[in-house]
């Protein structure tokens, strides 16, 4: 089978699905949903074939040729890294589509939702496979667009509308730097092509610079919601829960990590900053998670925290003492570890989000954990799979999350940055604790609302993806799970041995199980209100306000930016609109009147014009003019 054909098919399938739904199936909701899932199935099958069989050949077409020398290509760069990301995309993507069949069953905008999902799959595929920076940027914006559309799914809710706008605008801020970074790269290296870039960066490392790395990292800060542009992700939970699982936990927000891993060689000079940004985000988000009562918001902050881990891992790879072992293997160490955690995180975080979706669906869209409780009795499968997710994210030994977190902490331990190591280590304890709080309060005690009392386990479309993701959260960290298909990534992960390994197992056990136990003791599920709120109301209030980032941004926009805009608006009215635009328009308008009056509709006049033209051309021909 020809690979080029398969790539084309892969790109076309979700795009055509979205187009067909948008054009013909807007009101035929069930047909649209089934069509979308069927197309997703074929999509996944082709992708699996590409990942495991790796047929010969690649695909690249010249998209635009501008001015003779400048060529823009549209092509595919397929290697172990993109194969791994593609695997994550199709597993989570397909399970979320199946889950949505149940979750969105009675939704009035079901067809629109599935069209949006298809657009997202198309856009994400573009980021995963793109072989040049411009293509990545285009699809980068496209995932931003689809995320906007899907957050905005309940567009009659003002909070959803403003959340979608916020996500879009905050991302645009990051993307501005990202675009500058891409142009910077082109300016220095004269190409957008990833393979050529790697070659040229290797031959002339002098062209690399911290500024370039950090500009590119701006895009990552926006898309992967790192400090200080993290504010959009918690709000994005206004979207339907399957979307939160797919886009805002497993794949799109991880695109920044994937991109960094893909162009690791360009980011090297900025790695220390990157490490710190990741570490601070990890700690910050874990702390704020304690102040949230919305089940999805807690998971959103946990996602932020885990993304922080991945970004920190990227940075640590360069800073780690493991670097001394040999140039090439180590350059990708951080990227490999980050991708490893990205993969396992995709499994258990999608599991947690879909589990929360199952709970929310059963509780008639109640999202406050203090209005749930006692769900374990009626929703056994959801509870057990959710529990597996909680243990996996807490780093319970030999579950998926354990291995990947283990390798990040190992990197931190080997690095010269002890503070980073301690912070990341401490955050693990916090992770166990807030997840323990979430689990205990949601599923145990007695029901705290009428909805929670009547909650029943959901149907197979919802439960089946949970079970599959539960299994993946258990086995998804072992080397045999990956086989040799992703050798370039998985093979580069350093393994902890000896006492450090033992330490990891013990602490993993301690933090995950301990988190549950302490969670039970502190946030006793039989209570109706939050313990922290009762003990330290001031701190709790600050945490509820997410440590005032939103308020500061609001203040800035209202007090600084709006006033600046007012002044600029006045100047615009006066000079640009008034003098230049109106003035020019009036002059040209006058000319229009003159030229119209010369064209009176009289055929004699026409012939004069004609004759004048002939005379002038004749003058030129005879050299008079």
């Amino acid at each position: 089978m020809n690979a080029a054909f398969l790539y084309q098919l892969l790109f076309l399938l979700p795009l055509l699905t979205a187009a067909v739904i948008a054009c013909f199936l807007r009101t035929k909701h069930n047909l649209a949903a089934n069509f979308s899932v069927l197309s997703g199935l074929i999509f996944s099958a082709i992708a699996l074939f590409l990942i495991y069989v790796r047929p010969e050949g690649d695909w690249s077409v010249t998209w635009l040729t501008l001015g003779g020398s400048f060529e823009l290509k549209f092509g595919v760069l397929f290697n172990d890294l993109s194969a791994l990301m593609l695997l994550v995309l199709i597993i989570v993507g397909f399970l979320v589509q199946v889950f949505s069949l149940g979750y969105m069953k009675d939704d009035l905008g079901k067809a629109r939702f599935f069209a949006g999902l298809s657009i997202f799959m198309f856009a994400m595929l573009g980021i995963v496979l793109a072989d040049n920076l411009v293509m990545i940027f285009i699809f980068w914006e496209l995932v931003g667009f689809s995320s906007y559309v899907l957050i905005n799914h309940y567009f009659d809710k003002p909070s959803a509308v403003s959340a979608s706008k916020k996500a879009f605008i905050v991302n645009r801020i990051g993307d501005f730097g990202f675009l500058l970074g891409i142009l910077f790269v082109y300016w220095q290296f004269g190409t957008f092509d990833l393979v050529e870039l790697e070659e040229r960066a290797r031959l002339s490392p002098g062209y690399l610079s911290t500024g370039m790395a950090l500009l590119l990292f701006c895009g990552v800060i926006g898309k992967s919601a790192q400090m200080p542009l993290h504010v959009w992700l918690p709000d994005a939970m206004e979207g339907p829960t399957p979307i939160s699982a797919l886009i805002h936990a497993a794949t799109m927000v991880a695109a920044g990590i994937y991109f960094s891993a893909r162009v690791y060689f360009l980011m090297l000079p900025g790695m220390e900053v990157i490490m710190w940004v990741g570490t601070i985000t990890a700690v910050f988000a874990a702390v704020v998670a304690f102040g949230q009562n919305d089940i999805k918001k807690i998971l959103a902050f946990s996602t932020l925290s885990q993304l922080g881990y991945m970004v920190a891992a990227l940075g640590l790879g360069a800073a780690s003492s493991l670097q001394r072992h040999g140039e090439h293997a180590v350059i990708s160490t951080g990227a490999a570890v980050a991708m490893y955690h990205l993969t396992t995180h995709a499994f258990f975080k999608a599991l947690l989000f879909l589990g929360s979706g199952s709970v929310i669906h059963a509780c008639h869209h109640e999202q406050d954990i203090y209005k749930m409780g006692g769900l374990y009795g009626e929703m056994k499968i959801t509870s057990i799979t959710f529990g597996i997710g909680v243990l996996a994210i807490g780093g319970f030994p030999f579950l998926a999350g354990f291995f990947s977190k283990d390798s990040i902490l190992h990197l931190a331990h080997e690095s010269d940055f002890n503070l980073v190591s301690y912070l990341l280590f401490g955050t693990t304890a916090l992770t166990g604790l807030y997840m323990g709080r979430l689990f205990v309060v949601t599923f145990f005690g007695k029901p705290r609302s009428a909805h929670a009392e009547r909650a029943k386990e959901n149907g197979p479309a919802i439960v089946l993806p949970l079970v599959i993701l539960g299994i993946l959260s258990v086995i998804g960290g072992y080397e045999w799970f990956f086989g040799h298909t992703f050798e370039a990534v998985i093979g580069a992960i350093p393994n902890a041995e000896g006492p450090f390994k033992m330490l990891m197992i013990i602490t993993g056990l301690l933090f995950s199980v301990g988190g549950l136990i302490v969670g039970w003791l502190v946030w006793n599920p039989s209570k109706d209100s939050d313990t922290l709120e009762n003990v330290a109301p001031g701190l709790f209030k600050a945490l509820v306000a997410k440590l005032y980032f939103d308020s500061i941004y609001d203040w800035y926009v209202k007090k600084v930016q709006d006033r600046g805009a007012l002044i600029l608006g006045f100047l615009d009215q006066l000079f640009i609109t008034g003098l230049m635009v109106r003035g020019t328009a009036e002059i040209i308008g006058l000319m229009g009147i003159v030229s119209r009056s010369l064209h009176g509709g009289n055929i004699g006049g026409y012939v004069y014009w004609f004759a004048i033209g002939v005379v002038v051309l004749g003058a030129i021909a005879f050299g008079v003019l």
Binding site: L64, S595, I603, W609, V614, V616
Partner: protein, 498 residues
């Protein structure tokens, strides 16, 4: 004469001629009792079939030629030259004619339906022959075939005084320009003693032909062909013809006839401009025409309230833009001219067709005000119209943007080493850019009426026929597609020219 060869070479045209004769018969057979609309549907269906069969013939020829088989080696002294490029453009003409027939059938100007479609088919033939002609005789005959059919079509709305008047004006000025063209052609023949383009080019570039005769001939040819492409100052027929003739005819004049004429310009002038000793003088003349067209066209359009007339002025401006590619006088220039001719005709055909649909439902000529709030009742039609207009205005990522980009780049690239902005064609491109900015004003004014205006819609919800809808959609898709992926067509043209 090799008759089997001749038959195969002109097969598509023969099919269309046959179709035309059958179409003409409709007014005289038992069908003459039927009401005009029913007859129109029947004749349109017949014309569609004929054009489709003709198109199939063209495609077959195209496949044969690209295969490299020797079926069409004989070009009859350049009278019918079949290459991948000429066949592609001939195919495009047939496709455009198909669209025009679909748009024409709902509102036939008078009861002589057969003649209406017969003339459309005849002009299609003329355009097809003009594209494949590389011989002066054939050139003149096909231009006259096109012109005479279009004069008739313009005056076809016999119940409207202005339609007839526009036809007569078109005919008068056309007659004058034909005289210039024929005079120029005869000088060219006199100077080179050759009829085929190949021989003429060889004679001019080798210096065998007396240069000043060639120059006079070229000046006359610019006048004659300037009339065909509605370039200023030979443009004055265009606003009347576009506004007062039947709208599908205006669309046809602005699209098919334009493509054929620009194709001829590139074929005839391209090699001469690249090599002739007098190229400086020739280029100066064409630059003058180009600047005049851009300025008069765009400024004339600013104050128009009738949308068809506005589009007519915009077409004059576009002729000016396209000539920039010609004065670049290199291969990039020729490529950009052909590319722009294609995308311009697609967008303008779509825009005219939309106006035609609205006009016919409104029962009168639509003014810009009539479109106020159309968006609310007819969102689909408004979006399609927006695509056409924005492409004409040259907004990325629609094809109009890349068309202009290639034209301007070709002009700038034609003289790579220059000292200041006033040399080379920087100033010409600057004028073009300025005029494009001016053009945005009137394009956006029309769009504003469609999309933004808060007035209650004047137009009721418009029912469009399936054929019209499909035609508009297909045109819009092509306009968008050629914007997103222009490289395919550009590379094809480049490969076929080289």
């Amino acid at each position: 004469m090799n008759y089997p060869q001749l038959f195969l070479t002109t097969l598509p045209e023969l099919i269309v001629v046959l179709g035309m004769f059958v179409a003409l018969g409709f007014d005289y057979t038992k069908y003459k009792e039927l009401d005009p609309q029913t007859r129109s549907n029947k004749v349109a269906a017949l014309s569609t079939i004929a054009l489709m069969l003709g198109l199939a013939g063209v495609v077959w020829q195209f496949l044969q030629v690209t295969d490299g088989s020797k079926t069409f080696s004989n070009s009859f002294n350049g009278q019918v030259v079949l290459t991948p490029l000429t066949l592609w453009f001939k195919g495009l003409i047939f496709v455009l004619a198909l669209f025009v027939v679909q748009f024409a059938k709902t509102d036939v100007p008078n009861k002589h339906v057969s003649e209406y479609f017969g003339l459309i088919l005849l002009s299609t033939l003329g355009m097809g022959f003009l594209i494949t002609a590389q011989n002066l005789i054939m050139l003149f005959v096909s231009i006259e075939l096109i012109s005479l059919s279009l004069y008739g079509l313009t005056a076809f709305q016999t119940d409207k005084k202005f339609s007839v008047e526009a036809g007569i004006k078109y005919f008068t000025i056309g007659g004058v320009s034909s005289a210039f063209l024929l005079f120029g052609l005869s000088y060219l023949f006199g100077a080179t003693n050759e009829l085929s383009f190949e021989g003429i080019t060889a004679a001019i570039t080798s210096g065998a032909a007396p240069q000043n005769y060639v120059l006079i001939a070229s000046a006359f040819l610019v006048v004659g062909l300037g009339f065909k492409i509605a370039a200023a100052p030979f443009h004055l027929w265009a606003p009347d013809t576009y506004q007062c003739g039947p709208v599908p005819v205006a669309a046809w004049v602005a699209s098919g006839s334009k493509i054929a004429s620009f194709f001829l310009l590139v074929q005839l002038f391209g090699p001469v401009l690249e090599t002739s000793e007098q190229k400086e003088t020739l280029i100066a003349g064409i630059v003058l025409v180009s600047v005049l067209s851009m300025v008069l066209g765009n400024i004339g359009a600013l104050r128009q309230s009738c949308v068809k007339r506005l589009l007519a002025y915009s077409s004059i401006a576009h002729a000016g833009y396209i000539l920039i590619g010609l004065v670049a006088a290199n291969e990039d220039g020729s490529i950009s001219v052909l590319f722009y001719a294609v995308i311009y005709s697609l967008a303008t055909l779509g825009a005219f067709a939309t106006i035609g649909i609205i006009d016919s439902r409104l029962g009168r000529e639509a003014q810009i005000d009539d479109f106020n709030g159309t968006w609310k009742q007819n969102p689909g039609l408004s979006i399609l119209f927006m695509i056409f207009i924005l492409s004409l205005a040259g907004i990325p990522p629609l094809s109009g943007f890349f068309g202009k980009f290639y034209l301007f780049m070709a002009a700038i690239g034609s003289q790579p080493e220059i000292a200041s902005w006033s040399e080379g064609f920087y100033w010409l491109v600057a004028v073009a850019l300025l005029m494009s900015a001016v053009s945005l004003f009137y394009y956006v004014k029309v769009l504003k009426a469609f999309l933004v205006s808060a007035d209650t819609p004047k137009l009721p919800s418009i029912q469009i026929t399936k054929a019209e809808g499909a035609g508009l959609l297909l045109l819009a898709v092509l306009v968008v597609y050629l914007g997103i992926y222009p490289t395919g067509l550009v590379e094809f043209i480049a490969a076929s020219l080289g």
